[in-house]
Amino acid sequence: MAPLIDDDPRIIEFDVRTDEMLVNMGPQHPSTHGVLRLVLRTDGEIVSEVEPHIGYLHRCAEKIGENLTARQWIPYTDRMDYLAAMNMNLGWSLAVEKLMQYQVSERARHLRVLIAEMGRIASHLVGMGAYGLDLGTFSPFLYAFREREKILDLFEEACGARLTYSYITVGGLTADLPHGWLRKCEEFLDQFEPIIQEYHALLTTNAIFVKRTAAIGVMSPELAIEYGCSGPVLRGSGVDQDMRRDGESIYTAMYEGYAFEVAVMKNGHYPRDHAYPPVPADAILGDCWHRFFVRMLEVVQSMDLVRQSIDRYAACKGPLGEPVKLTEKIPAGDAYLETECPKGQMGFYLVSDGSAIPWRVRARSSSFSNLAVTHELCRGCLIADVPAIVGSLDIVMGEIDR
């Protein structure tokens, strides 16, 4: 390194110099959302480089998929994003159905929307609570889990499992909803709605929370797109993209007739943002605060969708339909389908040689792409910002490592 002289334009800071230090954040660290290892190169409190190391949770899900039939692989999708297992089931089922060119019944379609959106609420609640935890406040986490528990209760009643559901499956769903479920779901939504204001008071508008998140980890839309980021991470940067609207027809057809607006800032406004706290003055589009806020908006959006789907499902008198056989043969060919999962666009790619067991199974993880951008966001931030940034990406290691 060439010596610096005082009027060198490269010098911007004068500071007490310290030695560079390599620090391991993880794999056992409270705020790495699982077994993620971040190697930080720090100069005092300032992080000059972050390198994520992944793979601690690698379970060869894709290899396993080459030895099971398509329906048998459903439980393995549960364990990818275990916080939104319903959405994972849906993504894989749709990909297989796309290759099989299979059409589920209308009733199943509405039920799938209902379940998937409930799953989204549950996932965003965890994301929100855990983000509070990353910033050092514990209470919102429990508030979020309290409500999530109720969703899990509902799921348990519907399919018997609380975390790994395997409920949505190729050709429909494993079972219809039990009697009285819809009423309980509506009751949940009614009591949940005012609680969102509580979350806004505790986090979104909290001065310290804003200070910790606004203008931190700013991601430009170009950067987000180039890294293949998706979901709230992409929309938090102001890119108007939502697979539920922009995806392939087999997926978008599911949402046909549903009214929803993509939660993204347009002309300085979020959809229906008059009902929510205003964007703080020092927040920049693409920072941690916006990513968080998009999630909060999507909770409301999903509630709306759930209400709509409840009506449609209740009105739909047709049969639910049976799932395909466990050993159903899949036509030769390949199909790739991306669905809008809570964490982002989850893609499933299926190559079949005509037998019941796929030749190749591929899961394109949204968190994988979202995490890859970490080292760009964390350059030059403080150590305390690293959990804030990683937390705002809302990653799930089960999905990244597969």
Binding site: I54, E62, K63, E226, Y227, Q345, Y349, A372
Partner: protein, 176 residues
């Protein structure tokens, strides 16, 4: 992506790059000559009418049947197929590129097949290529940092190859 017009544009811009295509498939795809892959990708991202600004996924498919009885029945020659799923945020369309590589470079077992890296075109391809290298054993020439990503650094073999055999033990841990 259906659109013979687009394919013609590509062929005009980069003659000889397109090795084949199938536009009536479920996901229409274009097969690209391995040595022209980076050029094609750069053209798709920067020059084409539809800017494919995001790379969603890179998949390697190992077309190889280890069971000799079944292998006699298959219609294809053993090869490794790379599938690139690209996406245009602007116009919300996707495109599929396929690249066929030999299973081993020069058919010498153990020599990884090589193809140009597109990490310079989309920075997001970096990790995807690392994953393909790690699990399927394809060497991406020009990749800035091609290391294993999911498996440990000292892991042997590439698990998603069909002839992969799990090691008997790894650092004293029983494998099978």
């Amino acid at each position: 992506m259906r659109g013979p017009g687009f394919l013609e544009q590509l062929e005009q811009a980069l003659p000889g790059a397109v090795a084949g295509s199938r536009l009536d498939a479920l996901d229409p795809w274009i097969e690209v000559a391995p040595e022209r892959l980076v050029d094609v990708c750069r053209w798709l991202r920067e020059k084409s009418a539809v800017r494919f600004d995001a790379i969603e996924c890179i998949t390697a498919i190992d077309w190889f049947e280890p069971d000799p009885k079944k292998a006699a029945k298959v219609t294809w020659q053993p090869h490794t197929e790379l599938v690139y799923h690209l996406w245009s945020t602007a116009s919300r369309v996707s495109i599929v590129l396929k690249v066929n590589l030999p299973r081993w470079k020069g058919d010498v077992p153990g020599q990884l097949p090589e193809v140009g890296s597109v990490a310079g075109v989309w920075r997001g391809a970096n990790w995807h290529e690392r994953e393909v290298y790690d699990l399927s054993g394809v060497w991406f020439v020009g990749h800035p940092d091609l290391r294993r990503i999911l498996c440990p650094e000292d892991w042997e073999g590439h698990p998603l190859r069909k002839d992969y055999e799990q090691p008997l033990e790894y650092h004293g841990i029983r494998g099978r």
